[in-house]
Symmetry: none
Subunit: 189 residues, 4 copies
DNA sequence: AATGAATGAGGGTTCATTCAT
DNA sequence: TATGAATGAACCCTCATTCAT
């Protein structure tokens, strides 16, 4: 039951924040949309920032769990791993574009190491590690893994951003293919 | 003199906003950093939002002017045009990373058609047009220009974001090469 | 409870505005006087202007309701109606001179049709209608009802203004008699 | 020349204040309307309040001078004196309704004994004295001179207020007759 | 656990006034 | 004298958070 209420609040927060952006979002709007009182939110979250953090935490946990799982699949090539990751990510975004909107747009909280930054930084890092593993294994030839990771991560974000802005969600279906093609350029033949 | 003061304010605003993010930035901090009174800012800008808009307007004007100029150079291939654009953009960011920080991070102002959104939307659009031109001219084979533009724009943003976050500005030197290589995959041989 | 808090704020506002005038009145003074926080005022009123409007609205409603009630009393002569109105009005002012002070002094908000102007304009209009009715019924002979209404309304305001300024509240007891005597000059014998 | 500039500023101030009201009037608007710089105003007036005070001072000086002059005319009856005063006052208002607007509307500056209050209080006082003189001389029978003065002063203000609000300036031509008729009620036959 | 009225620190903005030119 | 950019104190209003019920 308690879990349900927290879910309810998060769903409501995602909708409002996707529409208005984190800073314009008022706690009272989240409450209204959820059909509860403002005070109730504070029984489940200690602050507005924590609501956003929880959203990021959950979504990033999904991605990072998937990445960890893929990590431990020796039968898969690095490129396949990346592909599986992309496919799944874009599927999730397609299921809930509001979420994608938030994930892609909220970049504030400068300095503060905690907050959402901790999550945002992990994906490019994981991609970088993946690419380095590919290089070590002789699958790929990556000279500048940090740069490549930046490009790949950027591509992912860019696709989500445009898909939502243009309301062209089909773009998400083709995106992994296209990005993977880019990585395959680096494949050692 | 007047131009100087406006410049002074913008420089100060760029520094503060890069450090703190637009929403955390206080008008009084911009004034302090510029060594002037808060009221003075309002002699040059009508609101905090307008300060950010001016920053975006100026930087995007530079980019869009360059794109327009390249447009009218029939001797250049589409790929070369894109390359020149990228090289110049990354050079500018390297000269003033604070600016890059802001350009890449501020994505709020949802809905509001005016504000910074008008600028943010123009670059992917211009890239898309460039790609379509390349397709028409038989230089490139682009099936989904919108997707490709999203990926390229995303890559650019991703590189700037990571370069700044990791304080690895050399990344910016190699980024255009790498991104162009991706576009060249689409070249018709 | 809620009604009480609104009342509390209005009472406080009346006192402060009577002492200081609307423009000098600070929201924080109203709050202090009411023993509440500034923010609380905004749970009941959307702006400082709305506080003043509510004061006017309430007082004018009382007057206009009375006028409407008198309107529907065919047994009363027009002069008697006017007299009853004056007596009641001056009684009210005597009970709460602070209120009278505000009602008589605040005339700003130029142009703006909403705001307090809508109320201020209604009394002379009602008086004019009353005089015209008297003329029609053959009770009075009024050639210039607009002028007469202006004089009567001005007299009322003038009496309240001086009574408060000179702190001579007895003046209010005699005022209706004197003003009515003036109207009776117009009585058809 | 200097006198001219001061005149220019006052004329401009009257127009702006009549349109906007004292509190909404910005010093810069007065300057703009006068075709001069804001700073220049401060060469002739020490503050915004002083501009308003000067307007009141001048107009009230005219009235008080007239009253003083009438005072020393033993051949005139009190009623005639009052009539001459009213006629002149309404004539002036008709010549410059903007001025009337200000004179009638600005009542703020509570407490502060200086400011415009000093002027506003003098007219009812003078009227009261005039009435008392009439009583002494056996011309009039006035039991409550303070009340009568309040009514007469209120009438004057009310007429000006309505004439301006309704843009019915003809009202001003008939007003003195009507008000005098009221005073004549008190005449000893 | 749920409520929502109360809180009050905080910040963007205004604008009368100043003063160097 | 005239200018008008610079000043900065002042204030309305917002809204995340609290807490008594």
């Amino acid at each position: 039951m308690a879990g349900n209420k927290k879910e309810l609040i998060l769903d409501s927060a995602i909708k409002v924040m996707a529409e208005e952006g984190y800073y314009f979002t008022k706690m009272s709007w989240i409450a209204d949309r959820a059909g509860i009182a403002v005070g109730t939110i504070y029984n489940y979250f200690s602050s507005k920032e924590e609501v956003l953090e929880e959203i990021f935490a959950r979504e990033f946990k999904k991605r990072l769990d998937l990445l960890a799982e893929l990590e431990e699949s020796p039968e898969l090539s690095v490129v396949s791993k990346l592909e599986l990751f992309l496919v799944r990510h874009f599927e999730e975004i397609k299921k809930n574009p509001d979420l994608g909107n938030i994930l892609v747009r909220e970049k504030e909280f400068p300095k503060k190491e905690g907050s959402i930054n901790q999550y945002l930084n992990q994906i490019p890092q994981s991609i970088k590690k993946l690419l380095e593993k590919g290089d070590e294994k002789g699958e790929l030839e990556i000279n500048k893994p940090e740069l490549m990771a930046a490009i790949i991560f950027g591509s992912i974000q860019g696709v989500v951003e445009q898909a939502i802005k243009l309301e062209n969600y089909e773009m998400l279906d083709d995106a992994s293919d296209e990005i993977i093609r880019f990585v395959e350029m680096k494949a050692v033949k």
